[in-house]
Symmetry: C2
Subunit: 399 residues, 2 copies
């Protein structure tokens, strides 16, 4: 009877082991061989061989750590190699487009942004704008600055079918059933795998890999823009749902008597907590966007009653929803992205009180609520992660 | 360099392979060797050895399938063996206690129930009642009727710390920080591992293994009793959260102007949709419990206006919450347990309309909403699963 490891196909095991080691290094930023042995359950000699192979593939590099003063030679530390492969990242928000080259270590190498009006923008124009940004970044072939590009990742403020890269619905852009992945791939001018995903999922992914959520298995990410989106990590894995549509937390009904939402429902969390609702409550011009928001934050800090009251309402509605999501998920950490991050210093105290009063174990179970650590770059870093995921799954693809 | 499977410790691999095969058979109810090869990625000869070993352990048996008329000998089919190991299952609800012996195939062999008043019941009395029920079932040693018992699983209407088997909070029972697992273990009279979990999680587990959720990776289970609970499955795995407290969907805030909830918050989903709210809206005595509910269902079927209106309200509030949960999770299936199952024929049409109007992709994304298939036995079958999980993880534990 054969129940040892050789029951698995050797090639499958080798690929899986390379993937396990690369993922373990990325999860930690860096790791010693001993840490990799205990993290993966693989033997020390196997780790040695796998690290050497990942180095040959241009994915990790190993060098001596600074001596800690203890006797003996300094131990070798394995790092992600950010210099040899890269991803192209694109973010399509309601008020603008961003693009970047990102290294395998999550570093944004170059980036460009284009602000656009909040009027709904036709798909064709958006594709042209994206390609224009990429050309400006120098993206013209599968190699840039000595870096091999492994894919193009796109974050968009809409519902995306992961399997087909189709934007099924983006109410705040006015798009329905847009084959965005295909359109971008066709205009790119060279072959590159394209991955499109919802911006909330992508933002959450970035925080888990490189931001406030590093090392956190159970994370709730809540992001406020014109729309409110989010992403959920359970056991260190993104919750995608049946069709990749999970995380539409902005559309949980929160106010049975609330106003109509652009999604067709009413009283959605987004209609109470999104940028438009906040600006309207503060008596600001909602078309002025983040500039009006910045002005309103200042006004609230000065004590302007209308601005203060608007942020108090914001804290209340945000707290209602976050409390519900904590009761549903029991996360270790709640990370606030988009404009929810910058307003946290202003509303944090009331928000936490509101949440504590409604969480099932109350004060006994304080879940930290923190601002995104990546800020405005989060979307681009997360979009690049989409392109890196298949590589981490199968490091041999760059052979 | 060694990157083949022998980088893993052989004993770890053997245990993992036995577990993989046992889990694959259980997931399917039964499976041919060919199905196991494709389900597990193991070789045919490895499957043969593993099945033989699981048979020796008393966990599966193999016999010829009914011939399908095609030539050649009938292929062998591997089944879970329900005769040789078993689990003790206990369910502690607000209005009674149930206990059972359950086979590894999910069959309830014997069960007993004890109805109790809805007054809060002291812990000591509850432990005595449970032990009494177990004695009445003949549970006196780790073997019963030739079956080896692998554990005692307990489902309870409260929040449970999975690691310690402590009932942290059960507002509807009036319990806080009760070491229920330890107390039951001490009174049992013989050594048996005890596993305590929230009834919503346990009900969901039963549906996934043996009920409406078989083969479903992304399932939302919503159960109505006095309390409203639930369980979530993502990628075929139960969402537990940081401390096992996930799934408290009954305490998502749904009505900002709602009444106080026993949890300390107000306007929780449970306060609008639980049994007490439904009976109160129908003008029924809420202490009469399921009898009053049965009478009210009949009255609504006859067209009694107050009962009809109460069920219409129930459909509306239930729909609001289910729509939110669908937007958050994108499940393949919603399963309704507790009294939500039996009232589904009455409220289903309105409920589905309500959900469709609020789900992000509306009618384009109809998620089936069905009643639990296990009915009243679900809690006991799920409680037994708690005890079987470590065995499936490591089949060698019964060696």
């Amino acid at each position: 009877m054969n129940t040892t490891g050789t029951a698995w196909r050797p090639q499958t095991v080798r690929r899986a082991n390379l993937s396990t080691v690369l993922a373990a290094v990325r999860d930690r930023g860096q790791a010693s061989r001993s840490e990799l042995v205990s993290a993966t359950g693989l033997t020390r000699s196997a780790i040695g061989g796998l690290v050497a192979e990942l180095d040959e593939l241009g994915l990790v590099r190993e060098h001596g750590a600074a001596s800690d003063g203890s006797p003996g030679r300094p131990s070798q530390v394995v790092h992600v190699d950010g210099r040899r492969v890269g991803a192209v990242a694109v973010e399509i928000a309601v008020d603008g487009i961003g693009a970047a080259i990102v290294g395998l270590d999550g570093t944004v190498i170059h980036s460009r942004r284009l602000m656009r009006s909040r009027e709904t923008v036709p798909v064709e124009q958006t594709v042209r704008d994206v390609i224009g940004l990429l050309r400006a970044l120098g993206v013209e072939s599968p190699t840039i600055g000595g870096r091999r590009l492994v894919g193009l990742g796109v974050a968009i403020a809409g519902l995306v079918d992961d399997a087909t890269n189709v934007v099924v619905r983006a109410p705040n852009l006015g798009w329905t059933d847009v084959g965005l992945g295909e359109a971008l791939g066709a205009q790119l001018g060279f072959e590159l795998p394209v991955f499109v995903a919802n911006d909330g999922d992508v933002g959450a992914l970035a925080e888990v890999r490189f931001g406030a959520g590093v090392g956190i298995g159970e994370m709730l990410y809540v992001s406020g823009e014109v729309g409110v989106g989010g992403g959920l990590f359970v056991g260190g894995r993104r919750v995608a749902g049946r069709s990749g549509f999970a995380g539409e937390i902005g559309h949980m009904p929160i106010n049975p008597d609330g106003r109509p939402c652009r999604c067709g429902s009413s009283g959605c969390w987004e209609t109470e907590t999104g940028e438009l609702a906040l600006l309207a409550r503060g008596g600001r011009d909602s078309d002025a966007g983040i500039h009006a928001l910045a002005e309103m934050i200042e006004a609230a800090e000065r004590g302007e009653p209308r601005a203060v009251a608007a942020f108090a309402d914001e804290a209340r509605w945000l707290g209602l929803g976050i409390a519900g999501l904590i009761n549903i998920f029991d996360p270790e950490l709640v990370v606030l992205g988009g404009f929810f991050g910058p307003i946290l210093p202003l509303i944090g105290e009331q928000l936490r009180r509101e949440v504590e009063a409604r969480v099932f174990l109350g004060a006994a179970r304080t879940v930290p609520i923190v601002a995104s650590r990546l800020g405005a770059d989060g979307g681009l870093i997360g979009a690049a992660e989409l392109a890196f995921e298949p590589l981490v799954e199968n490091p041999l693809m760059v052979r």
